[in-house]
């Protein structure tokens, strides 16, 4: 599963923030998952836990809990201004296309079109991929 690489990134980032903030223990990590990337919450939680076990600095994360939130993906056409949700658009994608976007969300520009003007020139306003929202801990 390629999610492990992203889980690893989240933990590395959290560790960096913790060091900067002089935390001796991280208790909570708040993560947002942009819907565009179609990452399953439970799979990502498992990826985080598995990655944690392989990490050296187990002390820092020994009692950490993960809060995962899915963020709806909103798209906006740069050409005609139309806004729409990935949720509505994805029913027109086949499995391979969804999988491509799962690996590299920017391939959305390859497989999606503005439902109003057919343009591939759109913006992912929100809900692209993995985002480290905040961490909490003790120092």
């Amino acid at each position: 599963m390629h999610e492990w690489a992203l889980a690893d990134a989240v933990l590395k980032s959290s560790q960096k923030v913790a060091e900067k903030e002089n935390l001796i223990e991280v208790t909570d990590i708040f993560i947002k998952i942009g819907e565009l990337q179609s990452i399953n919450k439970e799979i990502f939680r498992k990826a985080l836990e598995a990655t944690l076990e392989q990490q050296s600095d187990t002390q820092l994360f020994k009692n950490v809990s993960f809060s995962l939130e899915i963020v709806k993906a909103e798209l906006k056409c740069n050409d005609c201004g139309h806004k729409w949700l990935f949720d509505e658009a994805k029913k027109d994608l086949d499995d391979t296309e969804t999988e491509s976007i799962h690996f590299i969300p920017e391939t959305a520009h390859t497989f999606l079109r503005c439902p109003k003007c057919n343009s591939q020139d759109f913006e992912v306003v929100i809900g692209r991929g993995i985002w480290l929202e905040a961490i909490e801990g003790e120092n």
């Binding site: 390629h2 491509s100 391939t107 985002w131």
Partner: protein, 244 residues
């Protein structure tokens, strides 16, 4: 906070040298140099990776005659598929050769994503095939991979000299390491270009003639290996900058 940038250095840590083939204009041989260099290293049993960063016009797969676009294997990330001994990452495995219009911000995001998830493992060389111009991809590589070294592709054409000079000045501005320049598509000498390179203190690593038969070798690995182009790239790899 974007967690991806914090993991890039680690993803690349098993790689000894990272070489980006850049230059000014398009159509001057960047992809040919990048691909032939990777093929050459593979021939010599070096561990080599090739990363096609020209998302708007990926073409290294055409030179390598790669025609099947399957998703790369997943294992704690993405394992680049091996093509003719080269670990080869191309966006074509995901876009399946469909048009992929991306704005600068999308290109930056896609580069970040690929760098964050790809497990190159141990490599002697990672070769990066750059798109033309000093735009987002070039700026991103300079920003995300500080230790990248650059080979400057150039042609003797009057049209291309100012742009290649600007690329060099730009790299020198932030003290990037320039290995040297490969002069390609020579017809009737390259005096004006060589003067410019001398003035900018950039070594010439190889000089490659325009070869009417080169096109016939595109996509045919055996033929490609026998081109005068490949021969010159082979000689180049014996040069000082590659022995460091």
């Amino acid at each position: 906070m974007d967690p991806r940038k914090d993991v890039i250095e680690e993803r690349l840590q098993g790689i000894k040298r990272i070489i980006a083939i850049t230059g000014g204009k398009g159509g001057i041989g960047k992809t040919s140099i990048a691909t032939l260099l990777a093929l050459k290293f593979a021939e010599k049993h070096k561990k080599v990776g090739l990363f096609d960063l020209d998302f708007s016009g990926p073409s290294a797969h055409i030179l390598l005659n790669k025609k099947k676009f399957d998703f790369p294997e997943e294992e704690n990330g993405i394992i680049p598929p091996t093509v003719h001994g080269i670990k080869f990452m191309t966006i074509v495995d995901y876009t399946k050769e469909n048009p992929s219009p991306m704005r600068g911000i999308d290109v930056t995001n896609a580069i970040l994503e690929i760098l964050a998830i790809t497990r190159w493992d141990k490599l002697d060389y990672l070769i990066i095939d750059m798109p033309p111009g000093i735009s987002d991809p070039a700026l991103d590589i300079m920003k995300m991979i500080k230790r990248a070294e650059f080979i400057i592709a150039a042609t003797p054409s009057k049209i291309s000299i100012p742009e290649v000079a600007n690329t060099i000045k730009f790299l020198q501005n932030t003290k990037k390491s320039i290995m040297g320049s490969v002069i390609n598509m020579i017809f009737k000498g390259s005096a004006q270009l060589e003067e410019k390179l001398e003035e900018l203190d950039v070594d010439v690593l190889a000089k490659i003639d325009f070869d009417e038969d080169y096109e016939d070798a595109v996509g045919n690995i055996a033929k490609l290996r026998q081109t005068a182009f490949a021969q010159k790239i082979e000689e180049m790899t014996k040069e000082l900058p590659f022995r460091k």
